[in-house]
């Protein structure tokens, strides 16, 4: 091309363009992308935090409302990061506009990062909204701001990649709902959002350690209250390894054109 710009800067412009488009999509259909998670968490706070929480008392010395707050924020981040990428990428496949990216000179890594970035943006927007809702019901005290941020970013990327992989394999709209319903939701509910695993019988505690969401919710909660059911260092190492593994898988699928190129 005749722009006299380096390939790297053109690629960066392409990346920003994907982000802009993803952001535009989130804002355009805000009734689907932003409102429902804020609504759900408001209901959780009223019912679990307010009505039931008063009877539950405290968990590990933390009032129940405050105990579930980080978990609820994380749950919203998880479902929306996943949901954004799975529906946006599957929509692009289904509507064929993925071809706009495939014909362009953008390498697969940038396309992938663009979609993951979209998941991250929505994760942060929704996480922010739920945090605002949280602050209407209770107060949040942050012990380790960096940990809070790092665990949200890693979690959001993990599930954005998961959503991408789901969308690559999905052939119908049913198949983009299957995984969130039967895998993602149970994992988040059993991931210690609403309880500390110390209340579980031994066998259930062991089983819970196989649940990746447990580590995410707990590092996040640790960032607020310095309280976690799992060692934070181990949790971070596991989260990083998961991100790396999922990235490689997603990259290979996109590079090969699985599900998008005959």
């Amino acid at each position: 091309m005749n722009l006299g710009k380096s390939r790297a800067s053109r690629t960066f412009i392409g990346f920003l363009t994907i982000l802009r488009r993803e952001y535009g999509r989130i804002i355009r259909i805000w009734g689907q992308t932003l409102v429902p998670p804020a609504m759900t968490s408001t209901l959780y706070f009223i019912i679990f935090g307010g009505l039931i929480g008063q009877r539950v008392g405290a968990f590990d010395g933390i009032p129940y409302m405050e105990f579930i707050a980080p978990g609820l924020i994380m749950q919203a981040v998880i479902t929306t990061s996943y949901g954004n990428v799975v529906s946006s990428f599957f929509g692009a496949k289904f509507g064929k506009h993925i071809e706009e990216l495939l014909v362009s000179p953008l390498p697969p890594s940038v396309i992938l990062l663009g979609y993951v970035g979209g998941g991250l943006i929505r994760g942060f927007l929704v996480g922010g909204l739920v945090t605002i809702v949280t602050l209407l019901f209770t107060h949040l005290h942050v012990d380790h701001p960096f940990l809070v941020l790092a665990s949200v970013v890693l979690t959001s990327i993990t599930f954005a990649l998961g959503g991408f992989i789901n969308a690559v394999f999905a052939k119908t709209f049913d198949q983009i709902n299957w995984f969130p319903t039967f895998v993602l939701t149970p994992l988040t509910y059993f991931g210690g959002v609403f309880y500390s695993i110390s209340v579980l019988p031994d066998w259930a505690q062991h089983l819970s350690h196989a649940n990746p969401v447990l580590y995410m919710v707990n590092t996040f909660r640790y960032g607020f209250y310095s309280h976690s059911d799992v060692p934070v260092g181990t949790a971070f190492a596991l989260m990083l390894a998961t991100v790396a593994g999922l990235y490689v898988l997603a990259y290979v699928l996109l590079k090969r054109g699985t599900g998008i190129r005959d």
């Binding site: 091309m1 392409g14 005959d262």
Partner: protein, 311 residues
């Protein structure tokens, strides 16, 4: 310099369909090239491989000398594609569709906006820039894809049936526009089922049939290869008797006031008119029975079909 060079391109789809059986094709820089062929011949598949929408089975693709296997990104940045089927997000506006595409090619936002305006205006879509793409008419959608393909000002523009479903007036203005772009230096490859379009626009032509190139030549030479041509003559008064003897390969009445004459390359119309005048038969108007290219196309593709089924 060759804008596009294909060698031994083959494609077998996962379901076993052998769509391409070894395509060799060269398109020179600056050419206006027609890729013709019946439904299912392999046009879209070939274009898909060139634009990396389809994985090839074997063979090589070079775009302006750049081997797509060596530097895919560089090869892709030279190409603009107008696909056969609509492939933009129906819920976005034409403005953002075109500007985003510029971004995917690395064009900075300010320039992208400028170009978006330029091409949406050229394709008479500027008034519609803010509507949802879904609400555009079929012809407008096709023009939107042309604007989108041009926004990064590619050196090679590939159009897969760009005028399908476009009304006559706009088709003419599209032809004019494509000619302009071609004269300004852009190489154009076009597929179409309107042979008149190919004949009036293109300088070179390839006919692809059942995954093979059946013919590849200069348009003029192709037309010269036609051994005969049929003209339809409309007569002032219906003929009651037999058709007079005419210096033609064959002559017959389609109805009493319509005479069809077939001339070989060595026969000429003057002699026909002289004979008709002598017989006091007056011709009020005349046209080709079919477009000349169509005649050739039917023969070529039809022939293949009969030899194919005999084998």
């Amino acid at each position: 310099m060759l804008a596009l060079s294909l060698r031994g391109l083959t494609k077998t789809y996962q379901n076993g369909t052998q769509a391409l059986k070894g395509i060799d094709l060269d398109v020179a820089e600056g050419d206006f090239f027609a890729l013709l062929g019946p439904n299912g011949a392999g046009k879209t598949t070939s274009i898909g491989i060139v634009t990396s929408l389809v994985n090839k089975t074997a063979g090589s693709v070079k775009v302006f000398g750049i081997d797509a296997d060596h530097d895919l990104e560089a090869a892709k940045s030279c190409i603009g594609l107008v696909p056969q089927e609509f492939n933009f997000n129906m819920f976005e506006s034409p403005e953002s569709i075109v500007a985003n595409q510029a971004g995917f090619y690395g064009i900075p936002r300010a320039l992208a906006r400028e170009r978006t305006e330029k091409y949406l205006r050229k394709l008479q879509l500027w008034d519609k820039r803010k509507v949802m793409a879904r609400s555009l008419s079929g012809g407008m959608k096709r023009r939107l894809m042309i604007a989108r393909a041009l926004v990064h000002e590619p050196r090679l523009l590939i159009l897969d049936e760009p005028t399908a479903g476009v009304d006559i007036e706009i088709r003419r203005s599209m032809w004019e526009f494509l000619r302009e772009i071609n004269e300004a230096g852009t190489t154009i490859i076009l597929t179409t089922h309107y042979l008149e379009e190919a004949e009036s626009l293109c300088r070179h032509i390839a006919i692809i049939d059942k995954g093979r190139i059946a013919m590849h030549d200069r348009m003029q030479d192709v037309l010269r290869r036609l051994h005969s041509e049929t003209f339809v003559l409309n007569l002032r008064t219906p003929l009651s008797g037999a058709v007079p003897v005419l210096p033609v390969a064959s002559a017959e009445l389609a109805d009493p006031s319509t005479l069809e004459v077939e001339l070989t390359q060595h026969q000429d119309l003057n002699a026909v008119f002289a004979a008709l005048t002598a017989a006091d038969i007056h011709v009020v108007s005349m046209r080709n029975k079919v477009n000349r290219l169509e005649e050739l196309f039917m023969r070529l593709v039809g022939q293949e079909e009969t030899t194919g089924s005999a084998a």
